[in-house]
Each structure stands twice: as C-alpha cells, then as structure tokens.
Amino acid sequence: MRGSEILERMADSGNEEVAVIGNTDLTAADLHNNTNNTMTEEGVPLLKKMEISVSEAEKRTGKNAVNMQEIYTVYLIETRPVDAITEGPSAAPDSLWRRYSEFELLRNYLLVTFPYIVVPPLPEKRAEFVWHKLSADNMDPDFVERRRIGLENFLLRVASHSVLSKDKIFYLFLTQDDGWKDVVYDTGFQAKADSRLKALNATFRVKNPDKRYTELKHYSDELQSVISQLLRVRAKVADRLYGVYKVHGNYGRVFSEWSAIEREMGDGLQSAGHHMDAYAASVDDILEEEEHYADQLKEYLYYAEALRAVCRKHELIQYELEMAAQDLVSKKQQREELATGTVRTFSLKGMTSKLFGQETPEQREAKLKVLEEQIVEGEELVKTSNTECDEYVRNAWIDIDRFKEQKNQDLKEALISYAVMQISMCKKGIQVWTNAKECFSKM
C-alpha cells in the first residue's frame, strides 16, 4: 500500500470529524502546550492533525558501541501540522533523522507500555525470502527504499491508532531531535518488560486458559506459518518467472545476427527482435510490483507476532491471578488449621509441630495475626489482579477487534491489488506478442 493511500484511509478510520485547531498567532511554547493538551483529547488520532512522512534515506558513518567504524542508514522524518498546509506550500516541514535502531526502541517502548495493543510491526530487520535477483544486502538501495516505505507505514499506523497516537514518547520521537533516547530510558519501561522466561512459564501453567485467547494464539500461529509458506513459494516462482522472461532476450540477439544474412526476412526479424528485448526487460517492473505485494504480506506476518504477544501477556496476567488466588487459598487453609488445630492437609509445618510439640498459644496468636495480614494483602492482590485481568481482557479485545477488521480490509485489498498486477502483466504480454506477431507476419 502506498503511503498516501494509507494516509487517506487511516484518517478516515478515526472516530469523529474534528475541527483542526489552527492559530497562527501562537508561539512555539503555546503550540507545544496545545499539542500536549490535544494529545489527551478523546477519539482523535494524531494523524488527523499532523502530516507525517519518511521522505529520505542517507548513509552515515560513525563509531558504534565498541568504538568501531560502522556505516548505517538514517531516515528523514518530516512532520507538518495539517493546518499549516493552508498557509501555503512555503511552510516547511519539521524534520529530523532517525536510524532503524531508534524505531526499534520506540516499538519496544510501545510494546511494554501498551501490552494490550496489537502494536504495528516494523519492516524486516534483514532481507528474508529473497530470490536471486533481490539482494540480501541491507545496504542495497532497493532494500533501503522498501524499508523507508515500511518505516513510514509504521509511523502512519501508530499515528492513526486511537490509543498509541496519544503517547508522548511517540510524539517526541517525531519531533524531538536531541536526547529522545534519554527520555525513553527515563520512563523506566525496560524494568516493566516481562522477562521472556516468565512469559514462557505462563504458557504451560495456566490452569483455566481463556478459550478466546487460546483460539487467537492458534490463529496467530497459523497465520505466521501460512504467510511464511506463501512468501517462500512466491519467491521461488518470481525467480523462475524472471528466468523465462530473460531467456527471451536471447531471441533479440540471435534475430539480429540472423537478419544480417536474410534479404526478405531481415526487417521482420529485426523488429521482432526488439519486441523480444522489450518483453525480457518488462519483467523487472512486474517483479518490483510483486515485491510490493510481498511486503504487504510480510507486514501481517509480523503482525501475527504482535498478536501472539498480546495473548502471551494475557496468559501472564492470568497466571499471576491464578498464583495469587492459589496463594490466598493456601494461606486461608493455614489460618483455618492454626485456628482449629486440625491438620487437614499434609504440611511440613504440621509434621514438625507434631514431632516437636505444639506451639504456645502466644506463638499461635502471633502467627495467626501475621497470617490475617497476609490474607488481607492476598485478597487485595487477588482483587487487583482480577481487575487487571478483566481490564486487560476488555481493552485487549477492543483492539483485537479493531485489528481483525483492519487485517481483513488490508488483506482483501492486497489480494485485489495482486489480481490487478496480474492483469497488468497479462495486458503487457498481449501487447508484446501482438506486436511480435505483426513483425513475424511481415517476414
């Protein structure tokens, strides 16, 4: 999907129409405050008020973390308040340069801060599913160009999201040149990031998994698997199609050589040869367009990962709730045992007290008191965990529904654009062979 198209579509997917706030008399500080305020306004994605684009890519050299020279690419992010456009084209956009790793940092921040949101994915870090002509080199200009488009797409998706677009860190990413990284780290989001291990454990130990989330997880797995397969097969087919077209270029060469010894057929051969060359050359454009389709599929391949992350987070919350509940139950049991002096279940404590004698009533009182406190705490924890879980489920399900609809719409459009591409390819083919036939007929 082209950036401008997304822009139009996304702007339309906002909930309400809004009057653009524009006041040319405002100072920079006022403007900043305004945007602070508008960021919290309900139902207005950032994209409605701001034009965003990733317009250029450049190579830079610098020293990396281990003080070695490296070459990397930076991308120019340009932003312009929508109302500024009415002032005329002379209004220059604000701009700053960012590299891929900064985009990654932003996304990680968003993942941690909004775990119930299916966060839009970044374009691939390394070229995957390549076929022979496509370079696997990150420095290759075609790769850089496709990445530029992918990064723009990412920003536009975030900026049109009703929740994500309001985030201050995102806004600063677009507007604050210096020190943005520090601001991000200062939020302390990394500490909030759940360890992967913890999340893995949760998968195996949730006792009452939410059926909807289990289904969703299966779906995301299936989606990932099927899109990977599709991309692999498609790359193979692209490679072979390339071969077919390019071999026709040989016809052009040989016809030309042959026409030199033929009196009557010479002209026909020559002109037919030119059409064969044109045919062979036409495959480059065809496959470039197809690559675009592959990129659309790839986006949803990575979206599937984001979807699974949401499910995993839910599992973790669920797991923690279950742990808290379990803990509460066991504590209550202990209290009961202590209070009634009966040992209903086997416990080491029970055994030791049996072996080494009962406690004094004072000791028991003290223990009971501690337990009571713990139980109160535990009940609180269970309550908050429950609330957290419910809230998470509610919020997540809103975004999941939104995502599903977006996915269905996007993919359907992608399929249709694939058909359109095929049609264009066929029309070109018909054209070339009609022309060639005419030349052959004149031989």
Partner: protein, 430 residues
C-alpha cells in the same frame, strides 16, 4: 522431444549474491552442444554417396521440366497416421499408415493405403539423395532420442514424429522433380513384400564401394574454381546453421524454464486454500485466488504444450536442414572436382585422349546440370524455409497471445467476483 531432467535446475537458480552482471547466465552459452540431441545419422551416410551411373534424363530436358513446373500444382496428397506398435521376438517398432490420394496418370489408382515404418522412410530418403544428389531434401525426424530412450514409444514423441514424417513425404510430393521419382512411387504404393524386394535392388555393394572411393578422392582433392555464388551459399549455410542451432536451444530452454515456473506456481494455490481454513471474512477471496492460480496453471500447461509441439520441432528440423544443405553443397563440389580432375588428367596424359574427352564432356554436362538444379532448388528451399519459419514464429506469438488472454480473463473474473462481494456486504449492513 522430452524436456531435460530437472537436475539441471541448479544451473537456473544461482546464489542469492549474484549481481546484475551475472545476468549473462541467461544469455545462453549457445556454442555448447550438450543440449542438442544427436543429428540424424543418415545425413552422413549419403555424404559420399554413390552417384547414379546413368542420369534419368538429359540435363537440358531436366532443366526445362523444372522451369515448367515452377508453379507447384498439388496433385498428390499424402496423410501419415494411425501409428501402431509391432512386437516381434527381435524388436519392437512402430508402423504408420500412409494414405495417398492422387490424380496423376502415372499412378494406376487414385488412392493407395500402405503401412510403413521409420526404416522405410530412411530408405526412401537415401534413394532420393542417390538419384538427385544436388536437390535439397528436407530432413527426417531423428532416428532416436539420446536422452530417455524409453520415451521412444511415448505418445507425445510418436505424435511429433508422425507429423514430421507426414511433412517429409508431402514435401517430396510437392517437389516438381522428386515427386516423379520411381522409388517414391514404390514407397507410396507397394505392398510390404514388394517394397522389401525393391530395397534389395540397386547398385551392388562392390560398385557402390567403388563410387564411394571415387567420391572420397574427389572431396579430398577439393574443388578448384568454385563459382562465387556457391561460396556465398556455403557461407550462408554456415551462419544459418549456427543461428538455427541457437534458436532451437533458446526455444527449448524457454520451454524448460516455463515448466519449472509452472511447477512453482502449482504450489501456490494450495497455500491460499490452507490459509482460507484459518480465516472467516477472508475465506471467499482466498479460495477465489487459489482457484485462479489453479486455472492459470492449466492455461500454462496448454501454452507449454503448444510451444513444444509446434514451434520447437520446426526449429529443430531446420537445424538438421543446415546439415542437409552442407551435404548437398559438398556433393556439388565433388561433381565439379571430379570434372576438374579429368580436365587435369587430359592436360597431363597423352594416351586415351578420345575417351577422356568424351568423359569430360559428360562430366561437364553433369556439372552444369547439378549447378542449375541446385540453384533452382535453392530458391525453392528458401521460399519453403521462409514460410515454415514464419509460421513457426507466428504460431509462437499466437500461443503466447492466447496464453495471456486466458490468464487475463481468469484474473478479471476474480476482480468482478470480489466487487460484487463488496456490494453484498454493503447490502447486509443497511
């Protein structure tokens, strides 16, 4: 002609780090012969073939007749069909039914039906070349296919061969001189035992050997004063043969690559179908795409068959033709060389001048006749070649045009189906 095994697919898909410059691998190494199947052996058999001891007609009258018959009146129609397999204790072979319909008075009847096998066609060709060494006779399909011998009896191969044999005999029937050849008539009309006995006739082994020796000697000696036009013909045939060889390879390579493309495409449809199993809203468009791709596969199969059956055999025939032409030019050269050697002998020897002079006179006529028939037949051959090549490439263009038209229709119908779906969705919302 079967395609090569896919083990050579390794040469198609290179390493991912190849750059634009490596596109050269798509510019074929067309000098290599490994892709070319073996040429028909019979061309070399008749290379130093024996000449008929007696010319059927005087040179002058032959030339006259040739000119008269410039407008090819078609009065002999031959079909070659109904291939049948025969199994004996020694061998397995295929025979073809040859039906001839003619209005010519030389033939006793107006319709004949006989059965012939490849060997018989080969014999006919040999006899014709013997009788008319400087006439151009289009080649027979190859005796056997080097790769995959077992495929000798598969349907596609037999069909291609049948078509080629039919073309072969009709070409002879259309030729103003060759069609009146006695052996040709026997071939078309004789029963099996008659043909067999005819085959045993002709110059004996010893005399044939003698003539062969003479011919070899002449060709070793070489021709001294070859006319400019024959040198030009030689050059032409050299280049023509080269270019035809390349075109043949290109055509075969395209078929091979298209087949591999088809194999890849066949894997796509099932993935879309698999995907549709996980979706709800997208089920319909995904299944529709899978259907389209499957239909595209069918259409591609048709296209590949079209190219293999029509275009490729014609190009291959003309590769063989180049060899035929070379042989004809060589034979003409030999006739001239023989004449020249006698002239030299006359200059050197003193004895037997009278006989020598007579022989020289005869050979002179022979040279003139050979040159003239060759020249006329050359023009004839060029016309035929142009027609054949033109129709081969026009066919190729047609095949590809139809292929793309069908594919277009498939995808256009997909679009139409999706748009109506959108309509329906809107209706259910309201």
């Amino acid at each position: 002609m079967e395609s090569e095994s896919s083990s050579s697919a390794a040469s198609v898909s290179g390493s991912p780090t190849q750059t634009e410059a490596d596109l050269s691998r798509h510019m074929l190494e067309l000098e290599e012969d490994d892709d070319l199947e073996v040429f028909s052996k019979d061309a070399t058999l008749t290379d130093a073939s024996s000449f008929s001891a007696s010319m059927p007609m005087s040179p002058a009258s032959m030339i006259n007749q040739y000119k008269l018959e410039e407008q090819d009146i078609k009065d002999v129609f031959i079909t070659v069909d109904c291939p049948e397999s025969h199994v004996t204790s020694i061998e397995t072979f295929v025979t073809y039914r040859v039906i001839t319909k003619t209005t010519r008075s030389e033939f006793d009847s107006s319709e004949y039906e006989v059965r012939r096998r490849y060997q018989d066609f080969l014999w006919l060709k040999g006899k014709l070349e013997e009788a008319h060494p400087t006439l151009i006779i289009n080649p027979l399909p190859e005796k056997f296919v080097m790769k995959g011998m077992m495929e000798r009896f598969n349907d596609g191969f037999i069909e291609t061969r049948r078509k080629a044999l039919q073309k072969f005999v009709n070409r002879i029937a259309d030729h103003p001189i060759l069609s009146f050849n006695e052996d040709f008539k026997v071939f078309l009309t004789a029963q099996a035992w008659e043909l067999a006995s005819r085959k045993k006739q002709g110059p004996g082994l010893l005399s044939r050997m003698g003539e062969t020796v003479r011919a070899v000697a002449a060709s070793v000696r070489g021709v001294q004063n070859r006319a400019e036009e024959f040198t030009a013909m030689n050059d032409y045939v050299e280049t023509f043969g080269q270019k035809m060889g390349m075109l043949d390879k290109i055509a075969q390579r395209i078929v091979k690559e298209q087949k591999e493309y088809l194999e890849g495409m066949k894997e796509c449809g099932p993935v879309y179908t698999l995907w549709s199993g996980s979706e709800d809203q997208l089920v319909e468009p995904l299944k529709a795409i899978a259907g389209c791709i499957d239909n595209c596969c069918k259409v591609t199969e048709e296209q590949v068959a079209g190219l293999s059956e029509n275009q490729v055999p014609i190009l291959h025939e003309y590769v063989l033709c180049a060899e035929t032409l070379k042989a004809v030019l060589r034979r003409r050269d030999n006739i001239q060389a023989e004449y020249e050697s006698k002239v030299d002998a006359l200059a050197n020897k003193k004895a037997d001048k009278e006989n020598l002079k007579e022989e020289i006179g005869r050979l002179e006529d022979k040279v003139e006749c050979a040159n003239n028939t060759l020249k006329v037949d050359w023009e004839r051959w060029k016309r035929n070649m142009q027609g054949d090549v033109k129709s081969a490439f026009v066919d190729m263009a047609d095949t590809n045009m139809n292929y793309y038209k069908k594919r277009l229709a498939i995808w256009e119908s997909f679009l139409t189906s999706q748009k109506t779906d959108v309509h329906l969705e809107k209706d259910t919302d309201s």
